[in-house]
Point group: C2
Chain length 341, copies 2
DNA sequence: GGCAGGGATGTAATCGATTCCACGAGTCCA
DNA sequence: TGGACTCGTGGAATCGATTACATCCCTGCC
């Protein structure tokens, strides 16, 4: 493969001049510039990004460590992150932590070794020493969706409290009084926040959230199934199950169906995180939709701000309720926003 | 950040010795090794992968360029690719081509500039000059799922012909005679192959595939919707619509539902590419399932074989039919394999 | 006419590792 | 005893770029 020296030789100039042409440095004669460009063209020369990175200490690469690539929410997040990064001249390396802290650490270490310019993380747990050290050592870093309290790192996330309140109001209006939740891992902020928001919203209607109605899940479908079975085994099962993410909702749907019960007639179902498939399930699932694409873009902008010396800002965007049929109401016009497709 | 020189100084040895310890070179005294390891530990030293890559001309990175990250099939493929690559000591950079040739080229160029060790591609089109040049220039490369004929590159893919024949037999047995297909782009191998397999299977039953029943899609949901609307507008609409991928099936489902029609009573539906969500749609969708995870792993193994000097083999694995309710049959035991979950 | 200033260019140091080669010391065997 | 060999080690070249610095030449102004 042709290197910068070959180009210099072919153009009859020094490597310094070639480099200047390549980087748009003003101080090059039009004549030399033309000769270099011609040589680049004929040799099919492409600069070696590895060498360039070593010298400039910039890789123009961002790391993104997410909890579960198979979760459509994170897939969409990853997609929007890549798009925005590309628009700003960066590439993205994605690490899938699969909700496993040690895998998360593996990816963080690997990305750091590769000297990425900045790190976007949706932490699986409360934060490993490795990640905290990196943040403290000054690695540009931004949390998306989930975050770790007490660390000086900007956070880009959605606030679901308003939407959860809307959801509970909607359920209350439909006559439901026994509401249960499948929570996410308490170690994640999204795991605990959603339970708290739910509990607070229930309290507004004078409803309790008994322990028996608080199931512990792990954001994966299987745990949703397991917890739901537990609910159904209760002497007095809940009338509604609210899953703190989409995969657990899927597991819940399975569990209900496996008993020969029907949604919403026998039990209602709602989920946090809307995804395109919820329109097509039987029945369509009422869900809380995050502005996922906007979150990804905002996170990249914050990270690049940090990298390029500007001051990054934390961003919180509102989530919104999307009413479908899984809680019993026909999706007729109502004060609450309806599904649009 | 500490460099190898710092470690050498702290351990009282030369950088050469540090490097030898780091790379497990045998010719180092136990004593020196211990001192180096201690210094590495206390300094928290991590080798700079960029510098290492420059020197060794290996990045231990694979590029994966896929057509659409939002398609669950490719998401799962990407996941299995990353897993297998990690197991073999490689990282993966994913490029999302979004079915756009120019974006595909952008990613290929970017990955080549970064000097990835090998490239895994599921080509969006018939192959750009850039990609063909790279293959010819000796860049280790493997095609997954889709491929480009006439290029000396191993291919890892699923053969759907048997499963399509099973599907058509299944439909025939249910009494369906007017079968239509939503095809993928003719420029992709999967686009044209699936139509051919379908046509051949129909022929075995003496059934034609009229032009009016061959709709042109682009593997995205919207095109499935559009083509299906066309089918429904025909004087004699088909009894079955077979979508050549999952997203177009989703679009078809939408179109049918928008007309107030029901699947499978008014029209039957089947899809190529099974995904977890098809179990939960209304009705559950009969689909042809590829061994996606195995494809991803086989592709990585082939690519790494090529990179490490062994001879890579092309791999073709069979797809299989998964019968659910969208074609009208109750999923009772039958010679054809049933859905398992 | 001489000198300051600025533009175009080349030489060489540099980034952080790996690795070839040389060298000294120790071992073995003739 | 000495040559051949091995082992542990360090010095220095190298990978392919960027860039500080020096140099040269031209222009403009006093």
């Amino acid at each position: 493969m042709a290197g910068i020296k070959d180009v210099a030789a072919a153009a009859g100039v020094s490597v310094a001049t070639v480099s200047r042409v390549l980087n748009g440095h003003p101080s090059v004669s039009a004549e030399a510039r033309a000769r270099v460009n011609r040589a680049v063209e004929t040799l099919g020369y492409r600069p070696n990004a590895v060498a360039r990175s070593l010298r400039t200490d910039q890789t123009h690469t961002l790391g993104l460590v997410i909890s579960d690539v198979l979760n459509p929410y994170f897939t969409e997040l990853a997609r929007s992150v890549e798009e925005e990064a590309r628009a700003l001249g960066y590439s993205v390396i994605i690490g899938n932590a699969d909700e496993r802290p040690e895998l998360q650490d593996h990816h963080v270490r690997n990305l750091l070794d590769r000297r990425i310019d900045g790190l976007l993380v949706s932490p699986t747990d409360g934060g490993s020493p490795l990640m905290l050290d990196a943040a403290r050592a000054g690695t540009p870093m931004v949390f998306v969706d989930r975050w770790i309290p007490g660390v000086e790192v900007p956070v880009v996330r959605a606030d679901g409290r308003g939407a959860v309140r809307d959801l509970v109001a909607h359920l209350y209006r439909l006559g439901h009084r026994r509401l249960a939740i499948i929570a996410g891992p308490a170690a994640t902020t999204t795991g605990s926040e959603r339970v708290e928001a739910f509990r607070a919203a229930l309290a507004e209607h004078g409803l309790p959230l008994p322990d028996a109605y608080t199931g512990q899940g792990d954001f994966q479908a299987e745990s949703g199934r397991r917890v739901t079975e537990g609910f159904l085994d209760l002497a007095e099962p809940p009338e509604v199950v609210f899953a703190a993410d989409n995969l657990m909702a899927l597991g819940a749907l399975d569990a209900v169906r496996a008993r020969g019960l029907r949604v919403p007639d026998d039990i209602a179902l709602a989920a946090f995180d809307d995804i395109p498939w919820f329109v097509h399930t039987d029945p369509p699932v009422t869900a809380i939709a995050q502005p996922t694409g906007e979150l990804g873009r905002a996170a990249v902008r914050a990270l690049v701000d940090r990298i390029e010396g500007r001051t990054p800002r934390s961003v919180t965007l509102p989530a919104r309720l999307v009413v479908r049929r899984s809680c019993g109401a026909p999706p007729t016009p109502s004060p609450v926003q309806r599904s649009t497709s």
